[in-house]
Amino acid sequence: MSELSDLPDGCTQLVLEFLSIRDVAACAASCKKMAALAQEPLMWIPRLKADFGVDIKARLQGEPGGQVDARELYRLASEAPSKDAIRFWGCFTDGGCDDHLRQYWVDNMFAPNPLESYCSALSGNVNCIGLLMEPNICENADASKEKYREYLLDRLRVPAGVIFGHGIVNLALIQQEQDFDGAVMERLRSYSLAELEHLFLEFYVELTAGHTIGRLLLHGLQGEDRERERSNLNAVASRAERNLHTKHNNLCFHPESRDIQFDSEALPLCGAHGFTRSVGIVERLRVSRAGQFSCPVLAGVVFLAHFDGDAVSSPQEVFDALQAARDSPVCKAFNGLKDEKAMSQAVRKGVVPRRTKYVVSSSGVHYNFAQQDILPSDTPHAAIGHLQPVAWFRFHNRRDYKRWATLTSPKTLWEGQDSDYDIRRTRRHTSTRGASPIPQGAAADYVEDHPAAAAPPAAQVQAHAGGLAQFVGDVQEMAQAWLGGASHAAMQDSDSDTDMSEAESDSDDGEVFDEEGSPRGTKGRDMMHIELQGRWAGNLALVKLIDQEDLMHEWEDQHDEPNIDINHVTLSGSVLQLPEGVSLSAA
């Protein structure tokens, strides 16, 4: 009887390649030779790529760092805990930043919280890049920001309550009546950091002017505690002042365009190559444009790439590499692809990869792309591997939303063969059939039905007579300023637990209306969940914001040109730590 173990190693390896890891484990325990073969890095390196998208290059045996245990790495990848958000550090944009203000900086888009947003200066094809850092660098920064936010919330609780009480002095409030307090905090928590800082500074100015209303910031404190808190307030006020009114001062700018910006701030924190030891294994995306935006993003595309940090040695070189990434042909090919028709044409031309799936949800549509289709010349830089488009998305405009609003879960319109791609391959240009066969019957009838009446304010307070005229005057003035107009910043996502919809004039189907009853904003179509096909790996995420939905008239935005606003793009999955001697392949 001939034995499996007599086969040449190459053949046995081929057999193992066809097997699942469970079956490989059974073979390994069957004989000595199989046990040895099942340990081979050559056996696991391709599997890491196929199953997790992680393409590694390992130093050869004998070199410093030694031979990598690729099987162990595979095990780590398969056991890495799933995270709702892989925190990429947003550090590059070529679309500028609204008013060059810190509060609209591109990292807000990568930060997985709904409270802050990125607002570009330019109006289309804005490329934003996030890099994966050493674990906890971004998380720690986020936590410290959260602590600062909590402090502001805590100090603002009583004064904001007075403002939200519509200028009526309510003694019960000051004595912490529960219901009202809860409503105040709910409203405050929906504010972005910048809004909280604004509100804080308003009270702080009153405090330094010696007015009663300002002293509410120190409510509940006596004696020494009060004095100590006063100095805390001073420090916080100067931080808020700096955050709100100073420009981002650690940015590198492109010599010819001030809109191409790179934040080198976190690089020194993590050592020369700090961000190269981790790689994100991405399974899902979430794109949110929730908020009161005059120019919410309409269409965009998310790319992932391997960044080999060993190939760069200074922040300037990182900056150069990131610019090369956005200049690469595959990235540029998506410029202007703002709808399905433009996508189809690009696929036919062969400038973007084959699509594998077309999905519609109540918020928008998205395409998934084929993982293996590497287009020629799409390795942008020695340090950056193939830029892989992962998913393209487009939010519904108001008209399309009417058609899909009743969809309760995402619906796959087609999956598998990309007919536009096949047309290209077989060189049959006679067909004019589009690649997006939307089933006509699938669209549910939409009935316009919305009570346009304004909802009551966040809470009602019983009027109490009395109080100083000056104090009441101050309160009224600030209440007017804070409750009157719409703010620029984002509010909470429409599907988050603490939905602020009660505070808005909100109808059953999720649309929001202004005082005249005209629809306003993108509520109900502001959040997309994109399931990826297979796992995609990268330590560099590039989000191209292709186009915006121009709602400037709805929000009385007086700018000449629209920009693009986005709340966040979150990449979910797990993070794999690469051992010494292993780096990501940028080939």
Binding site: M1, S2, E3, L4, S5, D6, L7, P8, G10, C11, L14, V15, L16, E17, F18, L19, S20, I21, R22, D23, V24, A25, A26, C27, A28, A29, S30, C31, K32, K33, A35, R75, S78, E79, D422, T426, R428
Partner: protein, 166 residues
């Protein structure tokens, strides 16, 4: 056109076309070398295969001829019929792989020696199919492997692979 004769280890000769022979990379490169040194010639090329028995060789050649025929069909057929053709090929390959484990072993060896990548892929996949879902003991039984690991070693390997079983 040169004739190619493959000679099995028992001396049996098989004449095959250049087109079919080109699927065997080993033969193809021999042919190339020969033409480079002697130029166009009609002398038959005789390739002795001391490692391959007659019955395995026949089976390999059957694969080469059939694949060549399929290739020609594929280029000639319109795009609409490609899917149908792919199904036909898969059905033929499935039928072709109805062999004993021993025959399969010899086929892998021959495909490896003659360097026929497509046949090697097909055979190793078929071997993998025979392994799927089996326990270490069943794998040994299926391929007639003598136990070369001590029970302790086997247990150690099993333990280090627990993560793969989920």
């Amino acid at each position: 056109m040169r004739n190619i004769v493959l000679r099995a280890n028992d001396g049996a000769d098989h004449v095959i076309s250049v087109a079919a022979a080109s699927l065997c990379k080993t033969v193809a490169s021999l042919l190339q070398d020969l033409e480079a040194s002697k130029g166009e010639d009609t002398d038959p090329l005789i390739v002795p295969l001391p490692n391959v028995c007659n019955c395995t060789l026949q089976k390999v050649l059957g694969f080469c001829e059939q694949q060549r025929a399929f290739d020609e069909l594929c280029t000639a057929s319109p795009a609409a019929q490609q899917a149908d053709l792919t199904r036909q090929i898969q059905a033929w390959q499935m039928e072709y792989m109805q062999v004993s484990t021993d025959e399969l072993y010899h086929l892998v060896m021959a495909a490896h020696y003659l360097n026929v990548p497509r046949l090697l892929d097909l055979c190793t996949d078929a071997m993998a199919e025979r392994i799927r879902g089996k326990s270490p003991a069943q794998v040994r039984e299926c391929f007639g492997l003598k136990p070369s690991l001590s029970p302790e070693e086997e247990e150690e390997i099993r333990r280090s692979n627990l993560w793969a079983l989920n």
